[in-house]
Symmetry: C2
Subunit: 228 residues, 2 copies
DNA sequence: TGGGCAAGGATCGTATACAATTTACCTGCC
DNA sequence: GGCAGGTAAATTGTATACGATCCTTGCCCA
């Protein structure tokens, strides 16, 4: 439990902590987020927790049902497709823009980032690796200096994390490191064509590893789950 | 004052009413949105108003300063550019997708929409015309059946409304009707290439009518503003 | 024995009250 | 007369309390 009682614990802090937990797959889709429970964990009042939950709900990370409470969202297959279609529209051309602007400092940051990613993967910390892997895409938006799109990417990456938790085919760690590394090299060369195409292919790879067949959309009926 | 006291007035209602007022340029960038004031206007408690304001703040329509209150956002030139760059990434390819899916019912809705637009323009209701003009772009996302991107477009259109309020060159009504009409025809023919290109050009046209020269960006630094 | 019903508990939604911070004004001094 | 300091009003941030809704579970009756 990564909670620090001493801090003031503002709503944004709680939201980002919860978001991080989602990114690391420490909390899973469908899990209930009781206001009292979350409040006690973070040592905050219900008012602040509510703000955090509502903010997350606004981003599609959390689903609030009236008089029922907040739950971690469970994206349907349609939503999952939409998330990656949105990413397919934004990220390739964002990578192109980033390639034209990448500085030395950016490169250093990205290299450190990928190093962390590798280390986490090597250490078997798949949750941490997943989080870093997602954040890599946010870094591209930062380099492109597009704050507005960056916010969209943040949201899409977060929701992708939920999609992956639900629909990922293989249980083993993801082998994305190559893709990110190749992108890094394209950015270093300021090769915007390559960057755009690499990002495009990378996203297609990601989607292809998801199991988005329509039948798995409603987690089957309860009957199917128990009859077998 | 389009307020109905009798209704329960939930947070979403207040937010959408405020949003509509922004779209119609009835409330302008920088205007203060006092919690008490808004609450009294809509006949709602501060709690509900706070939720609405925070939701709008999350979308960049409103800017909340700690212990100071909520103000209608005043996008900087950089933000203005970013908003339209994001739209340029999303909307053309969204129009393409829409063109492939447009149904008869969609066409009817769009035609009615454009008719309203014309009527408003003819009646000199520039605020209403502006709102409808923006909503046209949302309709494209609806037709494309992309709820996720639709949410982004909604946000971008709202922020565009603020940008237009701040940086629009001409004071007279906008002559976008042609662009929307041409798009409509492309959708009817399921001509996705044309739809994409028309949308692209339409957005470029819009940006070209803005005065985004850098000097007006930060109301200069405070020092510059006072020394001169 | 199975289904319907009702009471209890728990959780969320909203309003109210209090604390913190900012802003404006006023007074006193230089 | 102008400026500094302090005090008071206003506004927001947060916590608490109350009311409403939903879920559970135990009971009763067919």
């Amino acid at each position: 439990m990564p909670s620090a009682r001493a801090q003031p614990m503002t709503a944004e802090l709680i939201a980002s902590q919860l978001m991080e937990a989602v990114h690391e797959h420490r909390i899973q889709p469908g899990m209930k987020l009781s206001e009292d429970e979350v409040g006690e964990i973070f040592g905050a009042g219900r008012t602040v927790v509510r703000q955090a939950l509502r903010a997350l709900a606004h981003e599609g990370i959390v689903c609030i049902e009236r008089n029922r409470g907040a739950f971690v969202a469970k994206p349907t297959v349609k939503e999952a497709r939409e998330v990656f279609e949105a990413r397919a529209l934004l990220e390739p051309r964002l990578a192109r823009a980033a390639a034209q602007r990448t500085t030395e400092a950016d490169m250093a940051r990205l290299e450190a980032h990928i190093a962390e990613e590798h280390a986490a993967l090597a250490a078997g910390e798949s949750g941490l690796a997943l989080k870093l892997s997602g954040h890599f895409h946010v870094e591209i938006a930062v380099i492109a200096d597009q704050a507005t799109i960056e916010a969209f990417i943040r949201q899409l990456v977060s929701r992708s994390s939920l999609v992956i938790a639900l629909y990922w085919r293989r249980r083993n760690a993801m082998c994305e490191s190559h893709a990110h590394h190749a992108l890094l090299e394209a950015l270093r060369r300021h090769d915007d064509d390559a960057a755009e195409e690499l990002m495009n292919g990378h996203l297609l790879d990601l989607v292809s590893q998801l199991d988005l067949r329509p039948q798995s959309d409603p987690p089957a009926s309860l009957r199917d789950a128990l009859i077998t």
